[in-house]
Symmetry: C2
Subunit: 343 residues, 2 copies
């Protein structure tokens, strides 16, 4: 990310975003008015520090230090019209979601996020006010997740496209992969499942309520800090639930070559999800078992080592029929499995 401070560009008057304040007359109204370098300033000026960030935005690359010399990397792209809609989510919510979905991937490795880089692509007629709110949401969620914005790139595009790569590291307990689940382990969940999917079902039908599930669709709330907690407690495998609980447990099952059985009753049935099921004529367990985007953490633990804050929802078993499977109360799940971006 280029950030030629002092190179003669007119400084954008707000070094930090102050949403709610009216845009002064004569200020740039759109990204095209603002220009690329001022946009970069708007995103990067006055960023909070992080003790493992050796060099932030402004050179050809950023530099972080990792404990043990090992760096974890994950990338997630959010595309307007696919992962969010500007008429359904505020700019601030989209900023928050951009960080949350990425931080969850690092948590799911039993690791801590350190820094992220943002590929910000947007149309020239996007309002500067939208960008200011987006940046505020991005920064707020960075603080929540304990991660620093360390660089990126801005470019023009027809649809807003937010490509984030996040970096992290682990302590000596090492990363928790998808492949370590063993027969006899317990399956446990931390965080919510089904809320975002229920929110999407409501929004798709033109409703803005129940508010709790609509907000869950707008901004996921991954259980920050629980990834490294699970690693320290001895988690044998872990994943974040982005595609749906059964689909994501399926990834653990196939990578670990085990069967997994989920106990439906252990999931509970939150009232707002039950109510969306009723209103839309959907079995509410479809939301719980196949809804993605809440970014809960699902992990397997040896018996006796499930940490506080986690709920046991199933068991790990030996593969019974050659191919690893995920069952619900001992039987195959008959409904949809998850989401395919190209179907």
């Amino acid at each position: 990310m280029n950030n030629p401070a002092g190179s003669g560009h007119t400084p954008w008057p707000f070094s930090t975003p102050r949403p709610g304040e009216p845009v002064p007359a004569g200020s740039p109204q759109t990204l095209a008015d603002l220009g690329e370098f001022e946009l970069i300033d708007l995103i990067t000026k006055g960023l909070p520090q992080h003790d493992q960030v050796q060099l932030g935005p402004g050179d050809d690359a950023a530099i972080i230090t990792s404990r043990g010399g090992r760096t974890l990397i994950s990338l997630d792209t959010l595309v307007e019209g696919v992962h969010f809609r500007r008429d359904w989510s505020s700019a601030m919510d989209i900023g928050r979601k951009t960080v949350a979905v990425n931080a969850a991937d690092i948590e799911a490795m039993g690791a801590r996020p350190i820094g992220l880089v943002l590929g910000f692509s947007a149309p020239g007629d996007l309002s500067v006010t939208w960008v200011r709110y987006f940046v505020q949401g991005l920064r707020e969620e960075c603080v929540r997740a304990g991660v620093a914005l360390i660089g990126g790139d801005t470019t023009r595009s027809r649809d807003i496209t937010l490509a984030v790569t996040i970096l992290g590291d682990t302590g000596p307990e090492g990363p928790v992969l998808r492949s370590g689940a063993r027969p006899g382990d317990l399956v446990a969940l931390c965080g919510r499942v089904g809320w975002a999917a229920a929110g999407l079902a409501a929004l798709s039908r033109g409703f803005r309520m129940p508010k709790a599930v609509v907000e869950a669709q707008q901004v996921p709330q991954p259980p920050y800090g629980q990834g490294s907690r699970a690693a320290a407690a001895g988690a044998t495998a872990m994943i974040d639930v982005s595609d749906g609980l059964l689909a994501d447990l399926g990834h653990i099952a196939s990578r670990s070559h085990v069967d997994i059985d989920v106990h439906k009753g252990a999931l509970g049935m939150p009232e707002p999800i039950r109510s969306v099921g009723q209103a839309t004529g959907t079995d509410p367990y479809v939301f719980l078992l196949t809804g993605g985007e809440d970014h809960a953490l699902a992990a397997t633990f040896p018996p006796g080592s499930v940490p506080e804050g986690w709920t046991v929802i199933g068991t790990v078993q030996e593969v019974h029929d050659r191919r690893p499977t995920v069952t619900v109360d001992g039987r195959p799940w008959e409904g949809t499995q998850g989401y395919d971006h190209f179907h």
Copy 2:
């Protein structure tokens, strides 16, 4: 990147791309036919190894090890219609360019690239054949640059959008920043400037020649390996020329708080650039001095330490008039300076 090998998906018949071979009847013709998981297989199956990649695609994050525990990170996004056009560049060229522009950023830090993650966003009606050629180009350039594809994410979008984050490390000589140029240093260049811009001028007017500049527009050729060579030789500041020689030297000047004078005569005037200038009625030095996208390396060195393969093109001086400036043969350059994505 999810890669549920063994999870029951029908395997895509080509584990490695074999362009030129006709697509068998009944094979998927578009990404929508193929599906997300088969697309991920197509991109990731049989990837070459890299000794600093501890974990490649298939989990919530990839893992690399860095010399000295220090990881360099850079992100560049290529958007269809902005950075490439499918009617101007082949899929294989676009794959190669995607790697080259990113590897150049790591080279420009005096570092070596290790791994990259790819955010691949594309419309569902994109042909699988296009993707196979793209992946082949991507992999070929990875080999050239000495970098491994270690993960990523695929999603649907209206325009092809290629967001790459590349990671690297440096030896004990440490990174070379933009901020270290000192009065008395020499400015040296390694690689080509102006070729891609001349190619763009030709293509924009409907020409496919001179072939050399058109090809330079389609695939940049960063001088791989010269970044760490410059660092070892004692380079004090470095940048890759992506916005234009004067604009990028301007970044070094402002970060280092120095003046830079470029000696036009030292640049030479390649015949194809002269000929595009003539055909389009443009001063050909506009291409050399302000054309970006060739991703040459520009660096500053103490006298006597410029390594072989580098051409001295100017000098670093004390700031004469408060604000750092870049001049050409002692005078301000009157033409355009570079490229702003939102103007």
